[in-house]
Symmetry: C2
Subunit: 342 residues, 2 copies
DNA sequence: CTGAAAGCGCTAACAG
DNA sequence: CTGTTAGCGCTTTCAG
């Protein structure tokens, strides 16, 4: 029945060697004779030896596991980021332990506990929407465990991070709408304590400014970026004496909400109101009209984040200087904003 | 700088107790005095003691980690399943290690290696599309590590598994279409070596049969269930001398493909051709018309799968009798098939 | 180049 | 109820 795993000491016994010798041979140490090394490897293979990582981890104080905390995993952004993370991590010989905070601050704290208990060698985090402070991460830093944030970071805190240039994403979206002839461009914004939403908004403002279009406060609606929220915001905008001729939404979900409301009101897209979203979700090309959106280079982000983390894990002097990586977004133009005829 | 973790022995020293006593107190052992227990807990709290799980795992031979292998993580089905898995696993004090096979057999084998090395206590698997045999799982069984499959299982192999009653899903979809007055109902089917597609197809056939509608081979098109594939299949069907009046697609993606083709051909949905998909993807309510689909109870599936796995992990006699759990699907009727007028 | 021995932090007999 | 002791399997000095 259950076959006992073969251990280093089994091999050592069989070969009349010391465990230390076998250990060294197996871990490709230099100061070992070609001959013994061969013998060890051959027997290891034959006995189907599998190293006990737990033991090694305990001894070395490193687990070869990285922890990742994301707000959630549904919706393709984080899914793709994780794909990127896994690919790079596995290639480098690391395992990945995944936690979801469910957009909840308290849950996020628990996740940190979990990962610390699992002795991960480094942590990758994208903040929950409800996270406003940094207390729980102090613990990580105290233990001197490398920490890298991605996408959603807390503003004004000096940490290593990989983020999309959301400002550019916003800027390009609005510039594109302006080029299509739109002048009253509205914005659906998210919680402003999160860098991503703040920057998208900033890009929006700057683009308007640079093109000499006056900023109008009543065209900006903040919300939580769900589909329902988008419906609410759009309904609100349609009640203005002079309605907008375009909407730049900071999320594809609320953009779809807007889209549904516009259809209910028999308004044509993009002729009456042009529409752009953010994230380039899978469904962006499933709606009608297809939704213009901003691609966030998800997999690249995941890859870049782990690479940064691994650098920190491998070379010691961690605290020296937090590094930031800025990824360039890509505007994907589709029907909902294209070829606008005046 | 890096604070050293406090260990059990630190606490023991401080309190003039034996490590074993402290250990027992901390793990809520019964045979310990109320008083010492209190003292231990208090100090542990004060020193912010965090148990070293690796050490415990090494000692106990169990890692308190479960491994999960999924084909991929994008697309909401697996995302939600994983959410369910995590919720239940974490509540039971287990960590989850996630691997993606990328729908690739070879990659799946590597994932198994990875998880075995990480010493997981149990493995949860949903097969890659390209997996046709079971060799790599033998290793898991040899080691007597509990193994539970979910959703995608290999046909005819006797293992524990949690699956959706895909047959029912197919049956209900077709029955619903029949009730709407459709008679020439087509089917987009997936790779038939996978249980899920095979059963959806079987449900389709049986429903037709039970309602006295003759089966017509030319109305069944097999493919790989992508959006492009749906477009191809639909185009093919439209070339028939007598076109179908409904399509039951085994995937929402190919259903959307069909939907796009139908629109290009100026056909009305559901009046000219009714349409139903499978999986109830997020975007099912984003299309126009909204897509009728079958909900797969994703989170329940994840939860049920871990619970089954944990039972096996906790009580020893593993090999006794593989258990199967069958979840009932739920038809979600939306515009693409509703209130059909003849 | 190889061996002996110590110990990572925890648990589980076995004794009191 | 508490203490003593022995290891889980591996890496890593320190000696040869």
């Amino acid at each position: 029945m259950a076959t006992k795993r073969t251990s280093i000491s089994d091999i050592a016994k069989e070969l009349n060697l010391a465990v230390s010798t076998v250990s060294r041979a197996l871990s490709g140490h230099s100061r070992i004779s070609e001959a013994t090394s061969k013998r060890v490897w051959k027997l290891a293979e034959k006995l189907n030896y599998q190293p006990n990582h737990l033991a090694a981890a305990l001894r070395k104080g490193r687990s070869n596991t990285l922890g990742v905390i994301v707000p959630h995993i549904d919706g393709h952004f984080f899914a793709l980021v994780i794909k990127g993370v896994e690919a790079v991590a596995n290639k480098a010989g690391y395992n990945v332990m995944l936690c979801q905070s469910n957009e909840d601050y308290v849950h996020e704290q628990k996740n940190i506990e979990t990962l610390m208990n699992a002795q991960v060698d480094g942590v990758l985090v994208s903040l929950a929407r409800t996270t406003h402070d940094f207390k729980h991460f102090e613990k990580v830093r105290k233990r001197d465990i490398p920490l890298v944030f991605f996408d959603r970071i807390l503003d004004g805190v000096n940490v290593s991070a990989v983020v999309l240039d959301d400002y550019q994403g916003g800027y390009q979206s609005v510039q594109h709408l302006l080029e299509q002839g739109c002048r009253r461009i509205a914005h659906f914004g998210g919680p402003q304590h999160l860098n991503i939403y703040k920057n998208r908004y900033a890009g929006y403002c700057q683009a308007l400014h640079d093109h000499g279009v006056p900023f109008d406060q009543e065209l900006v609606v903040f919300g939580d970026m769900t589909l329902a929220d988008g419906m609410r915001s759009m309904t609100e905008l349609l009640q203005l004496p002079q309605r907008p001729d375009a909407v730049f939404s900071a999320s594809d979900f609320s953009a779809v909400g807007a889209l549904q409301v516009l259809k209910q009101h028999q308004l044509r897209i993009p002729q009456d109101i042009a529409l752009t979203g953010f994230s380039n979700e899978t469904f962006a090309s499933f709606t009608e009209p297809m939704l213009t959106s901003v691609d966030q280079r998800c997999e690249e982000m995941g890859g870049a984040a782990v690479r940064l983390l691994l650098e920190m894990v491998q070379e010691r002097p961690t605290q020296l200087s937090p590094r930031k990586i800025l990824l360039q977004p890509q505007l994907v133009v589709r029907e909902s904003s294209r070829c606008r005829q005046e």
